[in-house]
């Protein structure tokens, strides 16, 4: 095998070198024990349903049954809200530093049980273990750490001295980042002295139920956190419940609008974090290798099940061909498959329903005349899978340029001038996020000021930090989560007379 000279061949095509195959590196799943049936977590205890039913959740990568869980009915929601109301009286009056101590304890337990959370999240959601392990779970713990620090410093939250909690928060979260969205909701609510009733998504209830165990382990006072699993009706009961003072929702724009209609006329405070169709704008002077990484991370992170995904690539027309060539070459290295393999980059789509939606929108893209490229890879026979897909030749009027696909599908459009980039980026009913790629600092600042999006990433994408407020413009919702701004959603200024 030794060689004397460097026999440098003349071109890449002369080389016939087999790919160095990475052997399977499966994450052991025996770190989690999943109960066959799951009750509701109300008032610090596991309680059976009064008027609900039972359904099941499956592993989207295999379609194997994972567990049965409860679909909470109206009476269950009543009980959960009542438990939260009872707990509010003492929790809101607790010494703020003590509230902070509980949150620190929860954060540490989440870190200690990080492996368990990561495996369970990948089993129930289908996302690669690399992401649940390196992004979801650590960031979720970080949200608790961050808000633990705020608990006794709320006088400096920007609402004047002595801001007050709102009461009982009804929180409904989506299936794309089950544990992370839970922490975005619960951590600030608790830090500010509220109590919560949280409904996890229908297809991903398991990490929320594990989180309930963490609350017990942390000796959190009963009723401060209540978890009611269920479907859309359960969520509707919760957000329309008279005993709820604050509604926080992350999910689709359609449901968000319904919630806004439901709570209109009540004195409930609402924050909505809804859909998006983010523009990821690449200028010709961008650091191209990193821009390509940013495009990949922008749309193929979490199978594109990201509300702030960079689903519209706006690329300056003089580098369009180069960017598309580099991008598709890079996409060739993506590894699609078993979410629990540590080398998997693209996992399973969360549900057959979502897979159907993605498939339909991609068919629409082809029918409207855009050019489709997809990753040449085998798909597992069971489970819900979709190949990373790139559409070029997309026009602003195409469905795939306007509708949120919520899947691993990128639409590539071009622009000629910065003005055109801004016009196209803003030409959407959404306004959650945007990305700008350029080596020119002044252009970043100018673009950030003109893009109507709640988050503008410069030379990066899909970066989440508890200190940074996150939220949308227009149909992407209102209110902010994270940072000092996020606290305002769970506090009201002190008033002399209430």
């Amino acid at each position: 095998m030794a060689r004397t000279d460097l026999d440098v061949p003349q071109s890449v095509t002369d080389l016939v070198t087999p790919t160095w195959e990475y052997a399977p590196a499966p994450q052991a799943i025996d770190v989690v024990s999943i109960a066959a049936t799951n009750d509701l977590f109300i008032g610090g205890d596991w309680v059976s349903t009064q008027d609900g039913s039972t359904t099941s959740t499956l592993n989207p990568a295999t379609e194997d049954h994972l567990a049965d869980y409860t679909v909470a009915g109206p009476a269950d929601v009543d009980a959960a809200v009542a438990a939260a109301r009872t707990a509010f009286a003492s929790w809101s009056r607790l010494r703020p530093a003590t509230r902070g101590a509980y949150l620190y304890r929860i954060a540490r337990i989440m870190q200690e049980r990080a492996r368990e959370f990561a495996v369970l999240e990948s089993l129930d959601n289908g996302k690669p273990i690399r992401e649940s392990r390196d992004v979801d779970v650590p960031t979720a713990a970080a949200h608790f750490f961050y808000h633990a620090g705020w608990a006794d410093k709320l006088d400096w939250a920007g609402l004047g001295p002595g801001p007050r909690p709102l009461g009982v928060a009804g929180q409904v979260i989506p299936w794309n980042f089950p544990l992370l969205m839970l922490s975005w909701k619960i951590a600030p609510a608790l830090a500010c002295g509220n109590t919560v009733v949280l409904k996890p998504a229908e297809t991903t209830p398991l990490t929320a139920l594990l989180f309930a165990q963490v609350c017990q382990q942390a000796d959190l006072p009963p009723g401060v956190v209540n978890i009611v699993t269920g479907d859309g009706d359960t969520g509707a009961h919760l957000v329309s419940h008279d005993g709820v003072d604050k509604v926080a929702f992350t999910g689709s724009t359609a449901v968000g609008k319904a919630i806004a209609r439901q709570v209109a006329g009540s004195d409930k405070k609402v924050t909505l974090e809804l859909g998006g169709k983010a523009a990821n704008i690449v200028f010709d002077d961008a650091a191209m290798d990193q821009a390509v990484e940013g495009i990949v991370n922008g749309i193929f992170f979490n199978q594109g099940h990201v509300c702030c995904a960079g689903s519209r690539l706006l690329v300056q027309e003089n580098v369009h061909d180069e960017v598309v060539e580099r991008l598709t070459e890079r996409l060739g290295t993506l590894r699609l498959g078993d979410p629990l393999d540590k080398n998997t980059d693209i996992g399973a789509v969360n549900s057959s329903e979502q897979l159907g939606r993605i498939t339909d929108l991609v068919a629409a893209g082809e029918a409207e005349g855009a050019t489709k490229w997809e990753l040449d890879c085998a798909l597992p026979t069971n489970g819900f899978w979709f190949r990373p897909t790139v559409f070029t030749g997309v026009e602003q009027s195409h469905t795939i340029a306007t509708d949120e696909i919520f899947g691993p599908v990128l639409s590539v459009l071009t622009f000629r001038t910065p003005d055109e980039a801004v016009a196209k980026a803003n030409n959407t009913p959404y306004g959650l996020s945007a990305g700008v790629w350029t080596e020119k600092g002044s252009r970043i600042l100018e673009m950030a000021g003109r893009l109507r999006a709640g988050v503008v990433w410069a030379n990066t994408f899909n970066r989440f930090d508890p200190t940074s407020p996150f939220g949308g413009y227009k149909e992407s919702g209102y209110g902010r989560e994270g940072g000092r701004h996020g606290l305002a959603a769970y506090l009201k200024p002190a008033t002399p007379i209430e």
Binding site: A2, R3, T4, V8, L15, M288, D289
Partner: protein, 320 residues
Amino acid sequence: MSLTAREAAPPELHEAMRSEAALRSFLHGLGGVDAVGLEARVTGLATRSIKKDAKRTGIDLAIAMVDLTTLEGQDTPGKVRALCAKGIHPDPTDDDCPSVAAICVYPDLVATAVDALGDSGVGVAAVATAFPAGRSSLEVKIADTTLAVDAGAREVDMVIDRGAFLSGRYGQVFDEIVATKEACGDAKLKVILETGELATYDNVRRASWLALAAGGDVIKTSTGKVSPAATRPVTAVLLQAVRDFARLTGQVRGVKAAGGIRTSKDALRYLVLVQEVAGPAWLTPDLFRFGASSLLDDLLLQRTSQRTGRYHSADYLPMA
């Protein structure tokens, strides 16, 4: 810039070699490297989990890519002979263990290495051009190179003039590489950029292209005498350069990461970079090398433990 220099470049780059000014605008027009994004990508690739067959194959590949190196003032012919023996049979108890790619020494010890290696197939590489600082006249550098090549070195590891590069005298650096390449004759030329002194990834990218355009067969991170030596992000920039150079010119050149790579785990992470940044075509000792001394021992320990299930002490490895 000399006319020879311009002719040495691939046709696609002739325009860029027209003048010192053209060369400068070419190098500065390469497009930047975003340090945060680069390092994030490299960190992400480090999470690749290399197990079982992949690990066994990777370790053997890494062994075959080692330029087993000794570059000490205290080097003796005896030490070089011991190193050569080890390079030929890294694991004397296992005939299936690959030989290293080459033995890398100072020019005065090349003859010893050539003699010791015989027809084993292990290459002889020599550092030259006033290694490691490169602070001498071109005449001395060429004489140094000639000394090595005449003694039988088949690969020459030259250093670039970092002072000239950092002060923007790209033409001078280019001409020196061309002159050294000429002095190499048939011997392959590895161009050491000494990335630890170039300070920015943008500079590393420019130096990479400069060296490739001037005819370097391999671009190499470091001498091993300056800290930091090879890092994975810097190596990724070199790998991007050879990948893009091949795309532009059709010519495939190599990369050598040298200095500071001591563990098998680290070596496997480099191989992942090679595969996923440059492409699987670069996963061969012809196109990727490790410049290292202690790395080989760790590779051998890991190799044995992969095969026997037991991890034995370094006392079982013949020292060199």
